[in-house]
């Protein structure tokens, strides 16, 4: 294991703290509760600061922090005797409003272009977490599919499928005016 200088530790700590808003957003996307999300983000920063030596320089710091955050979230759920929400058969199997049978049509494309940002955000919030979280990590946080798969502990192919279905759900809901 390579030695890390105090200066490097200081830089890393600053970078970790600087990512607090991103951690809070990701925590919120998992919990949908502000106070729980804040606690989760704070706890993640505390643990990351305490175990900086585990971080491998040259890898994605944000992805490392997100993975810590998700593990803490799962541990909290287990301790509380609850489980992460299961993916319903309907979510995985049912083609949302037949949306996957055809490509995005010109009307839907125009709807996306015209949609106000607040409307896009509102529709995104209606997505099941199964689709919303991979879409959030890849589209908003700009993490790779591999990084997202590592954070969520699911296969890369599942990330690909969920990102696709998540986007199609947003598009179809925007077009339907839901």
């Amino acid at each position: 294991m390579s030695e890390r200088s105090p200066e490097a530790d200081g830089d890393l700590a600053a970078q970790i703290v600087k990512l607090q808003p991103r951690l809070l957003r990701f925590a919120w996307s998992l919990t949908r509760e502000r106070e729980t999300a804040e606690d989760l983000a704070q706890e993640t920063i505390a643990r990351a600061l305490a175990s900086q030596w585990r971080f491998q320089p040259g890898t994605n710091l944000k992805a490392w922090l997100f993975r810590i955050l998700r593990n803490i979230h799962l541990n909290v759920l287990r301790a509380a005797g609850t489980h992460p929400p299961l993916v319903s058969i309907e979510e995985l199997v049912v083609d949302p409003a037949g949306a996957l049978e055809q490509n995005v049509n010109p009307v839907e494309a125009r709807v996306i272009a015209r949609a106000a940002l607040i409307r896009v955000a509102d529709v995104f919030r209606t997505l099941p977490p199964t689709f919303a979280i991979p879409l959030y990590l890849t589209a908003v946080e700009e993490l790779s599919y591999a990084e997202t798969a590592s954070i969520l502990d699911i296969p890369v192919g599942t990330v690909m499928s969920r990102v696709y279905r998540g986007r199609r759900l947003v598009i179809s809901r925007l077009a339907e005016g839901k």
């Binding site: 919120w28 804040e38 920063i45 600061l49 490509n103 896009v120 959030y136 908003v140």
Partner: protein, 229 residues
């Protein structure tokens, strides 16, 4: 089942540039399929809007709550970060007051007469190279017809403005700002002097998109944002 069906679930990955995960057969199909190309652009536009929407709507919970049972080190670090943010914000404000705003410069340039008028993209590109000394990024703008360009130096900012006509007939201008290093990616929706505009940060550089059609401005911004170099 259409020819697109087996490839459809890979289109998001293509839109996100995750082509290593996409079968070669799908990449071959997509290169010749207008419907799939259109869907990929829709995915890219939606990503741009999602990113922008999240930045707009989720700023509120970004403030750290320091009263929790966290370590003293964490509190010190968080306070330090808050101070750093304030210092950075003060720096940005000072910078904005003491230097001409390049976005404002691009807006001014967008309404000035063209210095070259040509429907030939390569001719316009060559003129831009001679006028500004730099090669403009190649962006794929489906259905957009180049009309001409102009070059301005406003204060210390060089702006190369390229004007297009969209399929709807709307006028769309793209002002490329020199000396604006790529700052991540994303699209900012702004209003400057009563003009609605989009500031696009991409690997290709920073561009200011203005025009008479919001739809086509967003499509142009998405195309620029997805341009690699």
């Amino acid at each position: 089942m259409s020819a697109c069906t087996p490839h459809r679930e890979f289109l998001a990955a293509v839109a996100d540039g995750e082509t290593k995960l996409v079968p070669a057969a799908t990449l071959d199909h997509v290169s010749d399929c207008a419907d799939c190309t259109s869907e990929i652009q829709a995915h890219q536009l939606l990503t741009t809007k999602l990113r922008q929407a999240t930045q707009e709507t989720e700023r509120e919970p970004a403030e750290p709550r320091l009263g929790l049972a966290t370590s003293g080190r964490l509190r010190v670090a968080a306070v330090g970060a808050a101070v750093a943010i304030l210092v950075a914000a003060a720096g940005v404000t000072w910078s904005a007051l003491s230097r001409p705003d390049p976005v404002q410069a691009a807006v001014v340039a967008s309404s000035e007469p063209l210095q070259i008028q040509s429907g030939d993209a390569s001719e316009v590109g060559q003129w831009c190279l001679q006028a500004s000394g730099r090669t403009l990024p190649r962006i794929r703008l489906d259905g957009m017809q180049v009309v001409g360009a102009r070059m301005d130096r406003i204060a210390s900012t060089d702006v190369v403005t390229v004007v297009y006509t969209a399929p709807s007939g709307a006028r769309i201008t793209v002002g490329w700002l020199e000396g604006q290093p790529p700052a991540g990616s994303g699209v900012e929706d702004r209003t400057v002097s009563g003009h609605q505009l989009l500031v696009v940060h991409s690997a290709a550089g920073t561009a200011v998109v203005t025009g008479s059609s919001a739809d086509e401005m967003w499509q142009t911004a998405a195309a620029i944002e997805s341009t690699a170099t």
